[in-house]
């Protein structure tokens, strides 16, 4: 293991990428999209005292979306792409160890994802100037975003070392990332709706002569409720949920979240609560007061570290598998693998 070798391998990867025009076009398009989204977000959050918080959260989520959408293409063929181009073996023949090559490629993939964050920096700065973003929100969200960039990069590099064909490893990376982003949502939605329990809703009976409610009796209406509180854990490994759940949330005086992180977080945390008894009292003019979003979040438990832990295990496992497969002298070779 040598810092110099890792640096040389990472530089080699990045140099080749930096010399392709397509890469700059991609970053340019991203900047244009960010500009549009930032302007729209300012319009959306203009009603708030400090619109910066909302805009900031939208831009950070957009960077994460781009990382999730584009990173697999850039990291998913790091190793097998080099094998196909016959450029891996000449590096393996040098003093660079398998670890140097693996880490160099991971760093290059992380730096590529980081480039999207770098392009977004001016927009984040504008959002921060808009006000309302506490230092803790800024620090945690950027750290979690960085962690997600590393996770997606490691999944891509991992598959590229395990799967022989670049096409399939890129597809496998996309499918894995999609399983985290969309699959968790589908599992949550279907799971919660599939598990239903009996619940009862209470109402006052109505006096047919007077048209007034009967205030000393309750009428019972049984019905089935979906139990999202039993499957909320499925959402834990979703990158967007991890980001929102980890980031400290600010509430306005009415107990409502001020940014997108907070809205997502309230949604996930609310799912933790078992369905509450429905009691609609026509005799009580104030009706029933439910808990505010702030109270709901306060009564729930965080899940982001579990989700991030699952992601790290997944990415680490794939990366370790690729490391073992890339080791030379090679003993067992998966079918279709080229050495040189």
């Amino acid at each position: 293991m040598s810092i110099s070798h890792i640096g040389t391998v990472a530089r080699l990867e990045l140099t080749q990428r930096l010399r392709s025009v397509g890469w700059y076009v991609l970053l340019g398009i991203f900047a244009v999209v960010l500009l549009g989204v930032t302007l729209l977000s300012f319009a959306v959050f203009s009603g708030q005292d400090a619109p910066g918080a909302g805009v900031y959260s939208v831009v950070v989520n957009l960077v994460l979306l781009l990382v999730v959408l584009v990173s697999p293409t850039l990291s998913g063929n790091a190793i097998n792409g080099d094998r196909e181009a016959a450029t891996l073996a000449p590096v393996q023949m040098t003093m660079a160890s398998t670890g140097d090559i693996m880490l160099g490629k991971l760093i290059a993939a992380v730096a590529t994802g980081g480039a999207f964050l770098a392009v977004a920096l001016p927009f984040l700065a504008v959002a921060l100037l808009g006000g309302g973003v506490p230092p803790a929100t800024f620090a945690v969200s950027v750290l979690v975003l960085a962690a997600e960039i590393v996770v997606v990069a490691a999944i891509g590099v991992g598959f590229s070392g395990i799967v022989a064909r670049p096409l399939f490893s890129i597809a496998a990376t996309y499918l894995t990332v999609a399983a985290l982003v969309i699959g968790t949502l589908i599992a949550f939605g279907l799971g919660g709706a599939a598990i239903r329990t009996e619940s009862v809703s209470y109402q006052r009976p109505w006096d047919e002569q007077t048209g007034e409610p009967v205030c000393d009796e309750w009428e019972e209406f049984p019905y089935e409720v979906p139990r999202y509180d039993l499957v909320w854990g499925l959402l834990a490994a979703n990158p967007f949920i991890v980001l929102a759940d980890a980031t400290p949330v600010e509430f306005d005086p009415n107990g409502y979240p001020v940014d997108l992180f907070g809205q997502l977080k309230v949604g996930v945390r609310a799912a933790q609560h078992a369905p509450i008894e429905q009691r609609w009292d026509a005799c009580s003019p104030n009706g029933q007061q439910g808990p505010t979003p702030e109270q709901m979040v306060a009564d729930s438990v965080p899940s982001w570290f579990v989700g991030l832990g699952i992601q790290v295990l997944l990415a680490g496992g794939l990366f370790a598998g690729a490391w073992a497969r890339t080791r030379t002298p090679a003993r067992r070779l998966p079918p279709g693998t080229r050495i040189a």
Binding site: H5, R11, A86, T94, T328, A340
Partner: protein, 321 residues
């Protein structure tokens, strides 16, 4: 024992036995040719020598070092030029060599001068700043050679280094290989172009169906000699053939024809010398008399062709398996 020593090296890919019990030596200071038909296992053998592929059985020593147990030490000594040449498409020739030098722990300051030196050595100095993707096949081949030589390796493994080179570059390569060997390096080179190999190699290792065949047991067989009489031309070939046949006492139909010259088969060099004497004694004016095949080609074509089962695989498939 320095140089390359392989003892009983075997490697299979699934059911395909690419290399079986191969044993040979390549001595320092000499150029050793690795000769064999397509699919004989040359590339697989070179990958094992290059520390990239582990043998299933047998031992390999690179200047006394086992590349399986200590690949890093072996790689310090090894310069390897693969048959499928991968160049980093967007890097210039100079950057390619500098990057490789850095990966061999050559300090950044020395790497640049080393790159200049290597590119001049292989004749690419005019293209130092050209990206590899614009280089021709032959130029890429030269770049691959420069890359293999950057860390001053003691042992060179070259897989088809001459393919794609123009005639001048081939002559240059030949001189370079001779010079590298005369410095005391071990040079192992595989090639299909036997006439070329013959001009550069000191020793030859024959690989057939994954096994090394002792060149000593290659059956002698009849070797063709090319004989041209003074003024020999296609239109008077029949007359020449008749004169030669009567002087040698053979049937004119047994002689072949080759661009105005007659092809005569002799069982041995002694028989050829004896035949020439008889021609001269018969007062026939001989302008050219030489083997029509190189010795290597002759030996190669007379290799036992009875291939063991499972051995019919092309070189590409087997390297990729």
């Amino acid at each position: 024992m320095s140089g390359i020593v392989a003892e009983g090296v075997s490697r299979s890919f699934g059911a395909v036995r690419a290399v079986q019990e191969a044993s040979f030596r390549a001595a320092p200071g000499r150029v050793t040719g690795l000769v064999g038909p397509n699919g004989a296992g040359k590339t697989t053998l070179l990958l094992m020598l290059a520390s990239l592929l582990a043998p299933d059985a047998g031992t390999i020593r690179i200047d006394g070092i086992d590349p399986v147990a200590d690949p890093t030490a072996a790689r310090r000594l090894l310069g390897w030029m693969p048959d499928a040449l991968g160049a980093w498409a967007s890097l210039t020739a100079r950057e390619t060599i500098i990057t490789t030098a850095r990966l061999y722990d050559i300090p950044a300051a020395d790497a640049a001068s080393r790159a200049k030196e290597m590119l001049a050595l292989v004749g690419l100095q005019g293209l130092s700043d050209a990206p590899a993707k614009v280089l021709s096949r032959g130029q890429k081949q030269k770049l691959g050679l420069a890359r293999a030589l950057v860390h001053d390796p003691r042992i060179l493994l070259l897989d088809e280094p001459a393919s794609g080179l123009d005639p001048e570059a081939r002559v240059h390569l030949r001189h370079l290989l001779r010079r590298l060997a005369s410095d005391g390096r071990t040079v192992l080179i595989s090639s299909h172009i036997l006439s070329e190999l013959e001009e550069v190699v000191d020793d030859a290792v024959f690989l057939v169906a994954g096994s090394v065949v002792d060149a000593g047991v290659v059956p002698a067989g009849t070797r063709m000699w090319r004989l041209r009489l003074v003024g020999g031309a296609p239109d008077r070939l029949t007359a020449d053939a008749w004169r030669v046949a009567s002087a040698l006492g053979v049937a004119p139909e047994s002689l072949g024809a080759d661009r105005g010259a007659v092809l005569v088969g002799f069982d041995s060099e002694d028989a050829a010398a004896h035949g020439l004497r008889r021609l001269v004694e018969a007062d026939i004016a001989v302008a050219e008399f030489a083997p029509a095949q190189s010795a290597l080609e002759h030996a190669f074509l007379n290799l036992p062709s009875a291939a063991p089962p499972n051995a019919v695989v092309s070189d590409d498939e087997e390297a990729g398996a």
